[in-house]
C-alpha cells in the first residue's frame, strides 16, 4: 500500500469544523438537505409522479370500509398492489400500476412482499361468490393456496359508524370528497349492498363504476361484503384502452 509520507498536518477548514460542534451540525444539515432537494424537487416536475388520468375516484363508503379491513387484517403483508413495469409482471397481471391509481389511498397498500399474488388488478377478475368462497376457505378454490381463511368476516356485521368522519379526515389530506358524499355516507353504504335500494341511482351518480352487491337476502352488510366491494374496485378505474402510455413515460 502506497502511503503519502509528506503530509500537511490537519488544520484549516476541516479542523475548524471538526472541533466546533455547532459548525459541524450546520455542515451536516447543509449536506443532507442537498440530498433531499435533489431527490424531492424533481418529483414536482416529472410527469409520471402522478399521471393525469380519467376515472380515478375516491372510494365509496362500502369500499372504504373494505379498505380499512384490508389494512386491519394485514393483507398487505402477503399481497402487493404494485405491478412493476417489468415484462413478466405486465404479461401476468396487466398494465403496470400508475401512481394515480393509488393517489387516494392513505396509507397506500403497495406492499413489498408477495406470498400471494399481486392484487392491483384483481377487481372484476372473479365473481363476488368466488371471493366469498375463497375468503372463507381459500383451499376450496385454490388447492395449493397457503392463505389463511377469514370466515369470521362473514359473521361480523360491518360497523360503518365512523365512515363519514374518516371521509372528512381524508379530505384534509387531499382526497376530494364532496360535501354531498360525506353527508350521504350512511345511505350510500346501505345502497351498495342492495340493487333494489332506492338510493342505488344516487350512489351510482356519486361513485361511477360502483359495483352493487346483492346482499339483500343475506341479512345485513358484513365485513366480508365490504372487503369484496373493495377488492372488486381494485385496478378497474383507468381504462387502459384509452390511456396514452407514451405521454407519461417520463
Amino acid at each position: 500500500m502506497s502511503q503519502s509520507t509528506h503530509h500537511a498536518p490537519g488544520g484549516g477548514l476541516q479542523k475548524r469544523i471538526e472541533t466546533n460542534s455547532i459548525l459541524l451540525v450546520l455542515a451536516i444539515l447543509i449536506l443532507v438537505s442537498i440530498g433531499g432537494v435533489v431527490e424531492i424537487v424533481p418529483l414536482f416536475y416529472i410527469k409520471n409522479t402522478i399521471e393525469r388520468v380519467e376515472g380515478v375516484r375516491p372510494y365509496s363508503p362500502l369500499e372504504l370500509a373494505g379498505y380499512n379491513i384490508y389494512v386491519r387484517e394485514g393483507c398487505y403483508t402477503c399481497h402487493s398492489q404494485m405491478i412493476r413495469p417489468l415484462r413478466d409482471e405486465v404479461e401476468r397481471y396487466g398494465h403496470y400500476s400508475l401512481a394515480a391509481e393509488s393517489m387516494y389511498d392513505h396509507p397506500f397498500q403497495w406492499g413489498s412482499k408477495r406470498n400471494g399474488p399481486d392484487l392491483a388488478r384483481v377487481g372484476g377478475k372473479y365473481s363476488n361468490d368466488w371471493q366469498r368462497d375463497h375468503l372463507r376457505s381459500p383451499r376450496s378454490m385454490v388447492p395449493t393456496s397457503i392463505m389463511p381463511g377469514y370466515p369470521f368476516l362473514a359473521e361480523t356485521p360491518l360497523d360503518g359508524a365512523h365512515l363519514a368522519e374518516q371521509m372528512r379526515l381524508l379530505r384534509v389530506v387531499g382526497v376530494p370528497y364532496a360535501d354531498e358524499q360525506i353527508e350521504n355516507a350512511a345511505a350510500d353504504l346501505s345502497a351498495q349492498g342492495a340493487p333494489d335500494d332506492p338510493g342505488a341511482a344516487a350512489l351510482r351518480q356519486r361513485y361511477p363504476n360502483v359495483v352493487i352487491n346483492d346482499l339483500a337476502s343475506k341479512g345485513g352488510v358484513t365485513e366480508e361484503d365490504a372487503l369484496i366491494a373493495y377488492l372488486q374496485h381494485l385496478g378497474v378505474s383507468v381504462n387502459f384502452k384509452l390511456y396514452d402510455d407514451k405521454a407519461n413515460i417520463r
Binding site: S4, G10, R87, G94, G124, K241
Partner: protein, 296 residues
Amino acid sequence: MSQDTFERGKVRIDEKTGVPTTGHEWDGIEELNTPLPRWWVWTFWITVVWGVVYCIVYPAWPTLSGGAQEGAGWSSRADLARQIDDLQATRAPILARLNAAPLTDIETNPELLAVARMVGSVAFANNCAGCHGAGGQGAKGYANLNDDDWIWGGKLADIKNTIEHGVRWEADKTTRNSAMPAFGRDGILTQQQISIVADHIRTYADLPNASEPTAEGQKLYDENCAACHGAEGKGNTELGAPNLVDAIWLYGSDKPTIVNRIVNGGGGVMPAWKDRLDDTTLKALTIYVHSLGGGQ
C-alpha cells in the same frame, strides 16, 4: 522519551514512522495522523465524478424546467415499451395467422392448434384456473370444462361468447343472462311442493336413492321448470338451463342441494374477459377450452 518532550496540542513528526501526530495526547499516548492511501483518495474522487456523470446521463439531474431529458434518456417505462414491442414483433407472424384463421379451421391445422393451445393454456392458468381449476375440472358451483355438459353451449362460437361476455356479469351489456326464480324465497312454491318436485327431478337422472316419479311432481315440473329445463329435463343452452337427466351436477345431486337451488334460484357469475384480454388470447382460450375434451 521523557514526559516533557510532549506538549499538549502540538503536532510533531513521530520519529519511528515519520508520520505526523494528531496533536492529541493522553497520559503519554499519542495518535498518528496516518494519511489515507493514495489509491483510496483517487478512488474517492473518481466515484464523485462518476456520480455526477451518471446523474446527467441516466438522466436524473434536476433542472428548473423539469426532470432532465438529456443524456441516454433511459426510463423503466420506455424500456418496458421497447421490450413489449420486441416481443410482439417476435410473436407477430404466427399470431397473425392465428388471428386470420376462422375459428373452426384452427383445430384441423396442427401447427395453429399447437400455438393456440400454448397461448390458451398460459392464459387459462392465469385467469381461469382460479374458478375452473388448474385442469379445467371445476368445483362446486364452477363448471367442469372437460365433460360433455355445457350450460351455455359447447360449440366454439358459444364458448367464445361466454368467455368474452361472461355470465350474469353486470358490467357487460351482452353478458349471458338468465335468472332462475327463487321459487322458495319468493313464495312461488311451498316448501312441500319444492320437496316433491326435487324428488321428482332426482328420478330423471336415476340418481342413487331416487324415489319413484310422481304425477304431482311431474305436474309441478311441467308448470314451473319445463319452460327452461325442457319437457324432458334435457336443459337449454340458450337459457343457460342445465341438463337434469345426466350424472353431471354443478352444485351437487343430493336432495338438500337441489332443494336449496330451487328455494334460492339464481345462478353462477363469470366475469367478462373481452376488456381484460386481447382478441388473440380470447381466440386461443376458446380453442384451449374446446380442446379440453368436451368441445362440440
